[in-house]
Symmetry: C2
Subunit: 261 residues, 2 copies
């Protein structure tokens, strides 16, 4: 399991490729439709590159398809070899995407958020893996454990829900930070004033369930403040709706648990 | 400005009282309706306590009212002295709450989330202060700067919006973490798998605007994944609504900016 072909040259492909190379694996080739992307990553990895999928090298132990979800199907259709181990890296694409081809399918999904031009330390990030049989699963686990010490076997359904949970925890909480920043800006205040609070919010969930450490007007069911806040947001229909929806959901969830006690 | 009477014995009062005492201020008395709360905090602060508001000590330089928002009005009505400096600590209560009394009104609002039995380090937490005149503002700024090196003058409107922004950034993001945990639990996965991702999300906004570092299906306007996620949530009407609402708002905000470019 030493020779790897990387299909894709975006953030995830770059992070995986660079990390695997650091761990002594040989990236033998990078493929991307776009010449500039594939040549740039190939340069970083000191390997060949191609923009023609028919020219993928044949001798690789593993082909990693790390492209946007909507492009995976097309790559699979054009994939030129049989009986080789091929993995995608998506949270939401079922392993069945490979079913129309006679390949040995697998998934290596790093549960992390990737940024352009920034190498994320994946050593503690969970890698969710899946394969069609035990032998390939062992191989995939072994390669994933070169990237992270947190490798988890998860089926496609579990992986989908992990991705969905990640959207709530990462993308959506980040959007709430954006809304908070937007509200502050309108009132000539800097987003910086929230950073100690956000830091403390994160500190609390490191060793507690988020449910147990919830604070604020909604968990107290403080109708006066909720009403006041909602009125403060009357200038933005969408912010007001998000405020009311999440507040209602907090009230509901905490009332439910109280009822159960 | 050395002698302080603390009206209230909850999380905020305890944190402020203990911090101020550490900084050499003298807490001369704690008031709380509840005997057990006031005596417990008074013991920690090595001071007197009372459960009768008419027995508040007269000689204090500052009275800090740190009770839940809905109780502030009643405390103000019963407050027995005139011409003294009285501050509340609420994010959402206007300084006008003091207007029916002939006192020197002020506000000391620590923008932080407090937990029971846990002393938060307030030294970097913003303290939003307000007073009716410059002389008192200077006094309040001075005492707040004993607690934190981040004292900000903000009027009642700015303070309200700061509190509202804090609800989005802290309470609501924490609720999204709860939803994420709930989704994972239903699929036999641990919330722990999201912690490296949450940590990275936080790292990114330390030095970037949340808007600039947004990732995920919504910012890419990836309709297939958004639809799939929404379907995965068909078992919960409220989670599905929150998912769709926030996704729509991300799409909308990022399309808007693209249009402006």
């Amino acid at each position: 399991m030493n020779k790897i072909v990387l299909i894709g040259a975006g953030n995830v492909a770059s992070n995986l490729g660079i990390t695997l190379k650091e761990k002594g694996k040989e990236i033998v080739q990078v493929y991307s439709k776009t010449n500039s992307s594939s040549s740039l990553l190939a340069k970083k990895l000191n390997c060949d590159y191609t923009t023609d999928i028919k020219e993928l090298k044949e001798e690789a132990d593993l082909y990693i398809i790390s492209v946007k979800d909507s492009a995976i199907n097309e790559i699979v259709e054009q994939f030129p070899y049989e009986n080789v181990l091929v993995s995608h890296t998506s949270g939401s694409v079922d392993i069945d995407v490979f079913s129309k081809k006679n390949v040995r399918p697998a998934v290596i999904y790093p549960l992390q958020t990737f940024s352009k031009d920034f190498l994320v330390d994946l050593s503690n990030s969970p890698i969710l893996v899946e394969a069609a049989n035990n032998e390939d699963l062992l191989k995939i686990k072994k390669i994933a454990s070169e990237i992270s010490d947190n490798v988890i076997h998860a089926d496609s359904k579990q992986r989908s829900y992990s991705h969905l949970a990640a959207v709530f925890a990462c993308n959506f909480s980040n959007h709430l930070f954006f809304i908070a920043e937007d509200i502050l800006k309108k009132n000539n205040l800097s987003f910086d004033i929230l950073k100690p609070l956000i830091k403390e919010t994160f500190r609390k969930i490191e060793s507690n369930s988020p449910y147990e450490v919830q604070t604020g007007p909604a968990v107290r069911n403080d109708k006066n403040i909720i009403k006041k806040h909602s009125e403060l947001l009357s200038y933005s229909d969408s912010y007001q709706k998000i405020y009311n929806f999440i507040s209602d959901n907090i009230v509901l969830n905490h009332l439910k648990k109280t009822d159960q006690n």
